[in-house]
C-alpha cells in the first residue's frame, strides 16, 4: 500500500463502501512505513497503537459520506501540537514534551475522524531548509537518498513522496512547504496568511507562519485546505472570510484560457540553476499553449527579500522562543545552582546551533541602537515587497516562477554556510512577507530530480491557483512519476 495509485476521494469511497476497512488501511500504512522509513527517516514519532485504536473505533462507527478523511491515516509535522502525542519541534528542549491540547487544525481533522499516523521530522523549530537542523535525524529525499528533502517540512514532503501517507500537514514561514514540495515532486500549498488558524502551531515568526498541506494531487490538496481553513477565536489573525469548497471547481471544464500569468524576471535571473530555468520555461510555454497569457514583469525588491525576511523572522523568533526557559515544560538543565543558571544552561544545552543563530540575530536586530536600522528598516522593505506584488496583480491573475533556485542538494553540502542556506529562500520568502498564498506543483525534472513550479496568488484567491495547478496537472504526467524507493514500482 503506497498510495501511489489512489487519491482521497477513491480511498474515502472504498471506506464508505466497505471495500477496505480503516484498520486494514492503517495496518498497510505502517507496513509500508516499516519498509521505507529506515531509509527515508521522515517520521520522528509513530502513533501506531493510537492509530489502530482509532481505526477500530472508526470501523465500528461506520464512515459518514461527508467525512472525507475519516479512517484515513495522515501525517503531521512535529511543530503542530497533538494531545497525548509527543510534540518536539525536532528540538532537544522539547524532547520530553507531550501536549495536553490539540492545535485547531488537529481538532478540525479529529472532528472528521482522521487517523493520526504520526509526527514528521523538520528543521528544529522549523528553522532551516533541509531537515539537517533537526536535533534527532536528517530526512533523506526518496528520489535520491543522498540528497536533502528540503525544509523545514522535509519529513512531511518525503513521507508523501515515498507513499508512506497520502497527505501530510506542514507549516511555511519562508518557504517551508513549497521548497520541500519542489524537491520531492509533490503538491504543497501555503494558504494566505490568516486563512488557517495558527493556534497550536509552535510559533516561529508569528506574522509569517501559516499551516498547509503536502499531497500528491492538486484536488486532494484543495479538499484538505478547505477542511482546515476558517476563523478561530483563539487566533485573532485568522480571517472571517468565507472558506470556498476549492475542489468543487476542479473538473473537466477547468481551464486557463485568458488567464494572465506574470513571470518576474528576478525569478529567472542570476542564481537560478539553468536546468531549473529550462523546466520552468517549458511549463510556462505549456500554459501558453493552453490559452494563458504570459507576461514578463519585475518585482524589483525581490533582491532585498532574504535580508529583510531574516531580520523580521529572527526578531519574531527571538521573542517567541523566550518561553523555552526550563521552568514550566521541556528539558531543564541538570546540576543548576540558581534560577539564572536554569534559563541560560537549559537554553544553551537545549537549542541547536541554527536556532541559537536566529535568536542571536533577532535579539541583535531588536536591541537598543540597532532597532531602527534593522527591524524597522526591514519592515519598511516588507511594505515595498507587498506593493511590488500589488502592482503586478493590478493586471495579472497569478505570478509564476521556480519555487527554489536549484533542485535538492546533497546532504551536508550547505550546512556549514548558513548564509548560502538562507539564499535558497530567495524565491519563497517574498510571499510570506506579503502574506500571499503560494504553492509548488511538480513541473518536471532536472538532473533526475523533481522541479517545482511556484504559483503565487492574490490574497484569499487560492481558487485561481488551484484551477491553474489542476489544469497543468491534468495535461501533464510529472505528478505520476514516483521515486524508485524499495523497488515498489
Amino acid at each position: 500500500m503506497n498510495f501511489y495509485d489512489t487519491d482521497l476521494t477513491k480511498l474515502h469511497d472504498d471506506l464508505v463502501n466497505k471495500k477496505i476497512s480503516s484498520t486494514e488501511l492503517t495496518k498497510a500504512t505502517y507496513e509500508n512505513i516499516a519498509a521505507d522509513d529506515d531509509d527515508v527517516k521522515a517520521f520522528l514519532t509513530l502513533n501506531k497503537d493510537g492509530a489502530l485504536k482509532q481505526a477500530a473505533e472508526v470501523d465500528q462507527q461506520g464512515i459518514k459520506a461527508d467525512q472525507l478523511v475519516a479512517g484515513i491515516p495522515l501525517g503531521v509535522k512535529d511543530n503542530i501540537v497533538t494531545k497525548d502525542i509527543k510534540t518536539t519541534a525536532a528540538s532537544k528542549i522539547l524532547s520530553n514534551f507531550t501536549p495536553i491540547y490539540d492545535a485547531t487544525v488537529i481538532e478540525k481533522l479529529k472532528a472528521q475522524n482522521f487517523i493520526n499516523a504520526g509526527k514528521l521530522n523538520l528543521d528544529e523549530f522549523a528553522m532551516g531548509g533541509s531537515t539537517e537542523n533537526s536535533a534527532f535525524q536528517t530526512t533523506h529525499n526518496p528520489w535520491d537518498l543522498t540528497r536533502v528533502p528540503g525544509g523545514s517540512s522535509g519529513g512531511s514532503a518525503a513521507a508523501v513522496a515515498a507513499g508512506e501517507v497520502i497527505a501530510a500537514l506542514g507549516t511555511d514561514t519562508g518557504g517551508s512547504i513549497r521548497l520541500p514540495a519542489s524537491y520531492n515532486g509533490v503538491v504543497g500549498m501555503k494558504p494566505t496568511y490568516g486563512r488557517v488558524s495558527r493556534w497550536g502551531i509552535i510559533a516561529f515568526g508569528s506574522s509569517l507562519d501559516q499551516v498547509g498541506w503536502l499531497t500528491r494531487s492538486v484536488k486532494d490538496n484543495a479538499q484538505l485546505t478547505s477542511l482546515i481553513s476558517g476563523h478561530d477565536d483563539r487566533d485573532l489573525t485568522s480571517s472571517t472570510k468565507e472558506v470556498p469548497n476549492f475542489a468543487s471547481q476542479l473538473n473537466d471544464d477547468t481551464n486557463v484560457k485568458g488567464l494572465r500569468i506574470a513571470v518576474p524576471k528576478e525569478y529567472l535571473g542570476e542564481g537560478v540553476d539553468e536546468n531549473v530555468k529550462e523546466v520552468i520555461q517549458a511549463a510556462l510555454k505549456h500554459y501558453e499553449s493552453l490559452g494563458a497569457i504570459i507576461d514578463e514583469v519585475s518585482l524589483p525588491n525581490t533582491k532585498y527579500g532574504v535580508a529583510a525576511y531574516y531580520i523580521i523572522s529572527s526578531s519574531e523568533a527571538s521573542s517567541n522562543l523566550q518561553r523555552f526557559d526550563g521552568i514550566r515544560y521541556g528539558v531543564r538543565a541538570k546540576d543548576v545552582e540558581n534560577l539564572e543558571d536554569v534559563y541560560v544552561r537549559s537554553r544553551s544545552e537545549g537549542f541547536g546551533d541554527e536556532v541559537k543563530r536566529r535568536i542571536m540575530l533577532g535579539t541583535f536586530s531588536l536591541s537598543a541602537g540597532f532597532y531602527d536600522a534593522y527591524f524597522i528598516k526591514a519592515s519598511q522593505i516588507r511594505t515595498l515587497i507587498r506593493q511590488d506584488f500589488e502592482k503586478v496583480f493590478e493586471d495579472h491573475d497569478l505570478v509564476m516562477g521556480p519555487a527554489g533556485p536549484t533542485v535538492a542538494y546533497k546532504i551536508g553540502s550547505n550546512i556549514t554556510d548558513p548564509k548560502a542556506m538562507y539564499m535558497n529562500d530567495v524565491l519563497t520568502v517574498p510571499v510570506n512577507m506579503a502574506g500571499l498564498p503560494g504553492m509548488s506543483i511538480p513541473a518536471g525534472f532536472a538532473d533526475n530530480m523533481p522541479v517545482g513550479l511556484q504559483i503565487i496568488g492574490k490574497p484569499f484567491d487560492e481558487q485561481t491557483m488551484y484551477n491553474a495547478a489542476y489544469t497543468f496537472e491534468q495535461s501533464t504526467d510529472f505528478h505520476k512519476q514516483t521515486p524508485k524507493l524499495g523497488g515498489q514500482n
Binding site: L339, M360, L361, A378, T383, R386
Partner: protein, 103 residues
C-alpha cells in the same frame, strides 16, 4: 549604519538572550553572525523615506470576546510537563545566590 559585530557584542547579545557560548563557539558564531549581518546591511541602500513599516499581514482588526471565566481544570495535566513540582507548584532552584561569595 553600525559597525560589524565583534566578540564582545556577541557576548552582550547572548546575555540578553539568556544563551552562553564557550570560547570555541564564540569565535564560530561571531564569524557566522558577522557574515549574515553583512547581508542584512544590503537593505541600507534602499530608499524608504515615508514608507510605513509593515508588521502584520492580517486584514483582521482587534476583536473582543465576552469576558466569561472558564475553568479548564488542567492543573494536574499542566504540571505533568513541568521538570520539577511540589504540592501543586512548579519548583525552581534558589532565586538568590546562596553560594556566600558576597554577591
Amino acid at each position: 549604519m553600525a559597525s560589524k559585530i565583534d566578540e564582545q557584542q556577541v557576548k552582550h547579545v547572548a546575555s540578553l538572550a539568556k544563551l552562553q557560548f564557550d570560547d570555541d563557539q564564540l569565535g564560530k558564531f561571531t564569524t557566522q553572525l558577522e557574515s549574515i549581518i553583512d547581508l542584512f546591511e544590503t537593505i541600507d541602500k534602499v530608499d524608504t523615506t515615508d514608507v510605513k513599516p509593515m508588521t502584520s499581514a492580517t486584514d483582521q482588526v482587534n476583536a473582543m470576546r465576552e469576558d466569561i471565566a472558564v475553568n479548564s481544570n488542567q492543573r494536574e495535566a499542566l504540571l505533568n510537563n513541568a521538570p520539577d513540582t511540589e504540592e501543586g507548584y512548579i519548583k525552581v532552584p534558589a532565586i538568590i545566590d546562596e553560594s556566600g561569595d558576597g554577591e
